[in-house]
Subunit: 305 residues, 4 copies
């Protein structure tokens, strides 16, 4: 299973034999949340965590559909449902502030979902001190945000950068937004994974980086991830098991291909537009989740982006 | 063969039975051109054109390697080789001017290679009238350029737009730069196809658009295409025949997938950086091809981008 | 008066002695058009044209205010008023199609208003042939668009490029969108000049380019211009006559400064955001002007950008 | 003097009566450093600091000329001179690492010089731990970088964000790059101010933000600032005293204008290109300053951007 590149818990489950589930404390359930379909994987025991290769906790994969092709009214409906869903899983945060971190490389479109989402937030923390009256008047929840960049461009782990800033800002909740790798095209850029387990940046594509965990930071973390790339070898391996009698694992293909210098993560052709719309979707969803009384039009006016 | 999505003549040849070649007037040969490997397909008879589904003429696929990862000195060497290669296939153009058209949608990175290349050209046509002395002094060949945009954004076929402008400018040669679809990852973003057959915009991905042919325009056309996307279903079909005993054609997978709303063209994750470097490579190659005496440093200073 | 850099007819009038007006057939009037203030200059005689240095015709300067700071509801109101205003001055165009040309250099923000506006249009011309049923159903007016680029990057006059395409497309009306120079900060980026006199690209900043005139093209032209730059020397000269007893003309300052290599056109610091919002404003205004029955929400969904 | 908006110490000096200098411990001297002219202001007493409204320390204004118009060979020469100049003023830093912070709003071109410069750095800190062999081999100095964003988009003071990260990274030197306001067009985008006094983000344009001082951080700070905007009212006031007999201070004009809602910082029209070139200039200068043995070509290959 290690040779399947995916960050989605729901896709890792597909690889397990059916009878492993009950034994190991992995629970799956499918539901609808208004206009959104959700697949929830709960890992409730260390054994389940080991089997899936992911920390214990809850992973909700939300199917949003191709929202970049939809009418504004439909998007509005889905944003409200997404905000309600976020609110239902958010830990209590009514004291203090929220820090949102948009991970990823802004100059690689497929990796830019975090920074793009952050640009669509209603940032308010500075108003409390600078303009307390306006802050009161707006009645907005206190929120701040950062885009730590990526190791190759900063020389500093984004987890380290977030920890440093969190120590100073002392938020009551950290929300982290990141691009993920999915295994199949069917979840690519039309699902969002929400989890309460922290994040290991780049874990889905074979990196091993310092992780951000609630234990480490001492505050709850909500991770929001969007699958924006598929490993080409995993895609090929899955096509083989789906469409032929043969069976070849991704690692064999990856090895064969890498002999020829091929190592591709693939992303949709229209990824520029997709990321712009999805980033707004997530940012707006967070805005409405933390500011429950805000109208959609006012939210759009107050949001950046 | 119709269900294989590729714009590369060399990939279409792979599908033909060996003995079809000599009979049908399709000739293939591999050579080296300095640091660049070339695969040349010549279609010399109408029968060959029918077999390959492409107009008669010459198609040279140049392997450039991953130039976006290479050192500047290595890139410089390859640009000079590419310029020499272009010069060897350019029709006589020493009278009049050259018009270069960069096809594609500038706001979709995978489709932007044409517009990006155009930004790296040394455009001189306006200097002849405006500042004849400077024009003489620089000794540069007369070149003009356009980026016609795409049908969905202009409502005007890019072929129509190019024809209109060519009628007014009356160049002695048209160079067209476009993004292509390749069949396999091995040629994706590391090859360039050069051809003298004109162009059918979007032909590789199943569109059917008014074509630009030398006959129609009355002047020679040099097409420069870079494969920047792979059809996901074709990729899967090829993986099946390579790695399993089974055999499934791309169309079957595409049909199956499209039942589920999946229809993906894939592109490398780092496509932003790749296109920027490849666009400069092609623009600079054209600059050096038409201005033989220009030094590399002077070319960089005069080029836009 | 030649040494004042402005493209706005209303600013040129300020320089004329009062009694010149009636004599010369220059008429000025101020009105309100819903939420928008307008200043209309009509040049009705060759003498007036000579006095103002502009072709005979009507020039309406619309004051929009700082719409990039306004709430969405307010912007919506102003877009509708702007669309009504456009409709009131548009020549009859119910037969055939409209061609919109966005002039200027997309990669210089202060010059990009034309290309940005074009990105916000509802382009439909290609649907009539490609998908006649959809075209009927949508009931949209036939519109196509182009962004010809600038001479320094294409080597081709944008007027020539527009003429070539207009000859092929044969529209019944040409709309041209361009960045202008204003004389004073008070009109910078918060006014729009509408005129029926064609356009001389770059005329306001001292260039002398082939013009686009209704006579030359054989169809009416509507020019929409937004002042996005102010000549620094003109700004200084105006400040002197406003705030001191002295009197110095712009040319003297410009000459003095240019001895020291200073020659600046200035633009607001937040020009990136301003141009994005103003471009959408103009594009959306055109959309609503030519598609009278379209709701605002549907227009936003159909528009690009 | 408070109503003159400038961040350049050399411009503040122009306002002082001649005889104030010797008395107050403000020293000015002009020199040449290879191809670069420098104007150095040293504030050596608290009295001088009070007079100029700036902390005690050294401020060097480097005249680079319009490097965005120059040939690559000339730029190379100036980058080397700039690197030598930086080396001559850098405090001893041979132990530990350097942290570079690019201040400003990346999405407002005139404010983006800091983030753009950071993109052109050779970032190495992560290599020491990740790939110690490569790190040794390259022989590069340890450098890391961050772009903290702006208060309005993050809700967190950039000074706070830098302090947090510096506490964790523990660099031996902090370099801060920021956009400045100059008073006159003659220094706009063609000078760079280098200082050892820390930084008060936004001080030149009337903001009052938490400052970054060497005392506060416990390590030396080198500030590199580029004037990219001019306050329009200051520009007008200076024009009046230069070109007329009258005398009006900037504040009077600013007040008069602001009654009409006018409050402009102006920036050159081609600011997009200017900032791109200047950002590379500064980033490359730092690369060569801290990596003395690196060739220009190798530096370009290793640098991002």
């Amino acid at each position: 299973m290690n040779n399947i590149y995916t960050d989605l818990a729901v896709e890792l489950c597909k690889n397990l034999p059916e009878n492993d589930f009950s034994a190991s404390g992995i629970e799956c359930k499918n539901e609808f949340f208004g206009s959104l379909k959700t697949e929830t994987v709960s890992i409730t025991s260390p054994n389940g965590a080991k089997l899936l290769g992911k920390p214990m906790g809850t992973y909700i994969t939300v199917s949003c559909g191709k929202i970049w092709l939809e009418h504004r009214e439909k998007i509005k409906e889905k944003v409200f449902d997404f905000a309600r869903l976020l609110r239902s899983v958010l830990p209590p945060f009514q004291k203090g502030s929220i820090l949102v971190a948009g991970l990823g490389n802004e100059s690689i479109t497929a990796d830019a979902i975090g920074p793009v989402a952050v640009k669509n937030l209603i940032v308010t923390r500075h108003l409390r001190n600078e303009k307390p009256q306006i802050f009161e008047e707006l009645g907005l929840f206190e929120l701040c945000a950062m885009t730590p960049g990526v190791l190759g461009q900063t020389g500093i782990e984004s987890a380290d950068m977030i920890c440093s800033v969190a120590e100073r800002v002392k938020p009551s909740l950290l929300i982290v937004i990141d691009a993920l790798a999915s295994r199949s095209l069917s979840r690519l850029v039309n699902t969002v994974q929400i989890s309460d387990c922290g994040i290991s940046p780049g874990s889905g594509i074979g990196n091993n980086r310092p992780s951000l965990s609630p234990e480490k930071l001492g505050i709850p973390i909500l991770s929001i991830g969007v699958p924006t790339v598929v490993d080409a070898a995993t895609l090929a391996a899955d096509a083989i098991s789906e469409f032929s009698d043969g069976e070849t694992d991704g690692e064999a293909i990856r090895e064969e291909w890498s002999k020829n210098g091929l190592n591709f993560f693939v992303t949709p052709k229209e990824t520029d537009q997709v990321i712009r719309v999805l980033g707004a979707f997530i940012g707006h969803g967070i805005n409405l989740a933390v500011n429950e009384d805000l109208s959609y039009e006012d939210m759009l006016s107050l949001a950046g982006g």
